[in-house]
Amino acid sequence: MSTLALALRDSSTMTRRQLKRLVRYPSMTVQLVVTPVIILLLFVYVFGGTLGKGLGGGREAYINYVVPGILLMTAATAATGTAVMVATDMTEGIIARFRTMRISRASVLTGHVVASVVQQLLGMAALVGIALAIGFRPDAGPVEWLGAVGMLTLFAVAITWLSVALGLKSPTPEAASNAPMPLVFLPFLGSGFVPTDSMPTVLRWFAEYQPFTPIMETVRGLLLGTPIGHSASIAIAWCAGLTAVSYLWAKKTFDKA
């Protein structure tokens, strides 16, 4: 077998390991889905009426506006869990065992990433389900839905590799749970919950140029027909860049440890 075929085989083995672990330890997954759902309900039912008026509609308009941001928050929350899983894994003897075996080194990390992306997509699907039940009304056709899933998957891959790197860098699992925290709040400091043009200058500048905003704008455009403009290409560039840098960082950290 070629090196690439072996790497793929080992990665799929490690992914199966990781998926089994997620199933065995469901409380984490549940918690990672429940948090964004609570945020969704909070923003729709508590703030939604007022915020919706600012958008020129009501609570219904606000549901549509806020779902893309909370989808990113779902992925970011799950990625926090990944950092903890990776940091915990590194403290276990089995990683030393993997290192003394003739396997593709990166497969240990790839397994974490793929399993986590699957977990995040399921979490996002659950969130969309609940959003639909309380009045989320996207006007997307199958192509747009597919595009949105693709965009969110790219985002999930990027943010997961970053979390894996952060998890590897953390001295303890406790520290690993803090490192990716800012990611969870980035949707607030972007176009996730309110349009950026309502923000003060400095904040608006940050909000418009941070990576989450073009991603949220792209998803929003695909699902609700708002203008996308250059957001899609900027979003894809951000995701590709973040994935590449985080992958190399994670791999280097893992090889050195």
């Binding site: 390991r17 330890y25 065992r97």
Partner: protein, 319 residues
């Protein structure tokens, strides 16, 4: 002569920490012939685990040349990895997976076919007495079961050289004996074992050759018998009730000295191999001279004596 399973010369390793450079391995040479059990014996902190970590490709050495299973350790670590199995000091099982899943995971990583993997897993579960626990998650296993699963996972790819880093530390005596039995069976099948332990009894029981490691240096190497010969031999100690009896005995035997540790100075130590024939001879001579010892004790040197004498640990280990 066949290629040795491990050949290391001048192995060095040091770590930097806030107290400066700490030398862990200070130039050690090792040769382990194929199909034998080699035991690295030493107190905590002697450098045993570091040695295993280097030889099993986990960490790089700072100096020295090493060939493991015929491959150069520094240049071809992946070939070394393909030939070895490692069971470390800390449990290397996935505690969220079942015993069976752990074994199948290893089979997949060893690139066995699905069928071969299942067969191997079933065989190992049977052999290590884990059939009943096969579908329970490894986190629920007892210490002894986790060690057995750990070793079973190491055996999935049929490695020819196995590193066992303190395999019985923390196990109860029964689990320890069953681990020893397993190790013996492995060697019977031609596998080479590199074993570290802090238990002299374990090295004495299992190893063909033993190396004593202390402060990063090998201070002695040989078979258990050879090592025992390195220190003053055995003796018979005879305790008498009167000084006259002791003098008569000394005259009859023609050798021996008064044990200085006996305050009454009534104990005679006579060099002896402790064998039945020499004991019978000794007792016959005493009989002829008409002296009867009140107490007789036979002392043969064990690895404890070797270890304590050579590492100078006597003070720290009250006996």
């Amino acid at each position: 002569m066949t290629n040795p399973a491990i050949a290391a010369t001048g192995l060095r390793k040091s770590y930097r920490d806030k107290n400066g450079e700490k030398v862990v391995l200070d130039g050690i040479d090792l040769t382990v012939p194929e199909g034998t059990i080699f035991s690295l014996l030493g107190p905590n902190g002697a450098g045993k685990t570091t040695t295993v970590q280097i030889l099993s490709t986990l960490i790089p050495a700072d100096g020295g040349t090493v060939r493991v299973a015929g491959h150069d350790l520094a240049r071809r670590p992946d070939d070394v990895r393909g030939a070895i199995g490692v069971t470390g000091q800390y449990s290397a099982v996935d505690k969220l997976l079942t015993g069976e899943e752990n074994l199948l995971l290893m089979a997949d990583l060893k690139h066995l076919s699905r069928k071969d993997g299942r067969r191997k897993a079933a065989e190992l579960l049977e052999r290590f007495d884990l059939v009943d626990a096969a579908r329970k998650t490894a986190g629920t296993y007892s210490g002894g079961m986790q060690r057995r699963l750990d070793l079973a996972m190491t055996l999935v790819g049929d490695p020819r050289l196995i590193f066992l880093d303190e395999p019985t530390t923390g196990l109860d005596p029964r689990s320890r004996r069953s681990m020893w039995q397993i190790v013996r069976e492995l060697v019977r099948d031609g596998v080479t074992i590199f074993l570290t332990t802090q238990y002299l009894e374990e090295a004495d029981e299992l190893a063909d050759r033993i190396a004593l490691l202390d402060h990063g240096r090998l201070i002695a190497e040989g078979t258990a018998e050879e090592l025992k010969r390195l220190i003053p031999g055995g003796h018979v100690s005879l305790r008498f009730t009167t000084d006259d009896a002791l003098k008569d005995a000394l005259g009859a035997l023609g050798q021996g000295f008064v044990d200085p540790s006996d305050e009454d100075r009534l104990t005679l130590q006579v060099p002896s191999d402790g064998g039945v024939a020499s004991l019978r001879d000794l007792l016959a001579r005493l009989d002829t001279a008409g002296v009867e010892p009140a107490h007789l004790g036979v002392h043969t040197p064990d690895l404890d004596d070797v270890f304590l004498t050579l590492t100078g640990q006597k003070q720290e280990t009250p006996r």
